[in-house]
């Protein structure tokens, strides 16, 4: 049998890169945009990212005393909101693959003080280093599209969720109305230009545009949830589907 000598590749935006290099490329993007991260978020979500994040927090349906994983948590926006909800009897784990994002997150959280229920973990979402059945909720926001093997990540999240627990994914998605889709497409063409002006870096923003377009649409991601073992899955469109929030449950057996 003829061995395939071509290296396995994966998408990095529209480019194909060797599988083992994607993580590194993604890391570079986030090293580069970390400082202007909030501005970038505002641009990409039409100024609504705070509201969309809050909606996502509500959909995690956390209650006091629960344990939650803020996966690909970056600079800690979600951890900051989870912390007062789960309270002193609960626990938040802020986890990211990128050390500088995690460091910015930890500094921010320490600045706010009195958030002793948050801990930090350097992880790859594809192979989470936590025990099975650890979390009442795993939340990954604007993170999944950067992960090389999304199916592995979903399986890994399923594994670390407790029976009766749930996984919540916030991600850019596909607008339902053609008009919105066209307008948003057009609009996103401007980001690299904006990125160039704001941070002198258009390539990273070009990657963000492309990674959003390559990300699976609502129904595809839902099917991936079911493949990963989730028993129930639903999604909520935000702003006509520019973003979508998927929720999958690991039912207690």
């Amino acid at each position: 049998m003829k061995q395939n000598t071509k290296k396995a590749t994966t998408d990095f935006g529209y480019k194909e890169v060797p599988v083992e290099e994607k993580a590194e490329h993604v890391a570079n993007v986030f090293h580069s945009v970390a400082r202007n991260y909030d501005i970038m978020n505002d641009i990409m979500s039409l100024g609504s990212h705070r509201f969309i994040k809050k909606f996502t927090v509500q959909l995690t349906a956390l209650r006091p005393g629960q344990v939650v994983l803020d996966l690909a948590g970056g600079t800690g926006d979600f951890s900051l909101q989870f912390s007062p909800i789960v309270g002193s009897k609960g626990q938040v784990v802020l986890a990211d693959i990128n050390e500088s994002m995690l460091r910015v997150g930890r500094d921010r959280i320490i600045d706010k003080g009195n958030l002793s229920n948050i801990s930090y973990s350097l992880v790859n979402a594809e192979k989470l280093p936590f025990a099975e059945n650890s979390f009442d909720c795993v939340c990954i926001a604007y993170g999944l599209r950067n992960v090389t093997d999304k199916n592995a990540a979903l399986r890994s999240m399923y594994e670390v969720a407790k029976p009766g627990g749930r996984v919540v994914v916030l991600e850019f998605s596909k607008p339902r109305k053609q008009l919105v889709s066209k307008a948003y497409d057009l609009y996103s063409k401007l980001w690299p230009v904006a990125g160039k002006i704001i941070s002198g870096d258009s390539e990273s923003y070009q990657y963000l545009v492309e990674s959003i377009r390559m990300h699976p649409d609502q129904e595809t991601l839902k099917a991936m949830f079911l493949d990963a073992g989730f028993q129930r899955c639903e999604y909520h469109n935000v702003m006509d589907g520019i973003c979508a929030i998927h929720i999958g449950y690991k039912d207690a057996t």
Binding site: L46, S48, F51, K54, F55, Q58, P64, H236, M239
Partner: protein, 210 residues
Amino acid sequence: MPLNLLLSTALSSAELILNKALTLDPSSKNKLRKLQGNIFAINCVNSGRSILDYSIFITVLDEGILLSPVITDEANAEISASANVLLKLLLAKDKSNIIRNENIQLKGDASSIQDLQAILLELDIDWEYQLSKGIGDIPTQTLSDGLDILKNFISNSAASLTTDIDEYVHEEKNIVPTAAELENFFQRIDQLRLNIDRTESRIDNLKRNY
């Protein structure tokens, strides 16, 4: 009803207002501590219109409260009433009168729900003022999505409130609202409508300028 960004944002705004009021009122905050960990459901029911059938959940945290459109487990206590009774409860100055006279169902731990009620009443928040002030903070995209819902909501509530009032007049002659009260109420509804129309044209303007 389908969850959406506007409702979510409305809830977070209300949550912000409540928590702010709580920090300004340490005695209420103290009383709230006793309810820590409790989850209360407010169910809007019997409206017959899907847009008005929904639940809001209040979770009492270590510090302050959380408002949410969903929970995973059961609430400790529930309060259910029709949309217009809840609306009246929110807007009326004399809330105890409404609680005594209207059709409101309680389920679960009744004493803790009464405690919560007492605390929230004591905070005495002017929701109307807060609403008119808060609308400026909601992003335009979200607003234009939600404007129709809001319009519907207001005309529906106003319509059913009118029928309600008619019924009182016929059935319970002793609680006929005075003409001035009615006038006042409808003026406020009109004002709210006006505000929405104004916001709408503001959004159109913004859209044109972008």
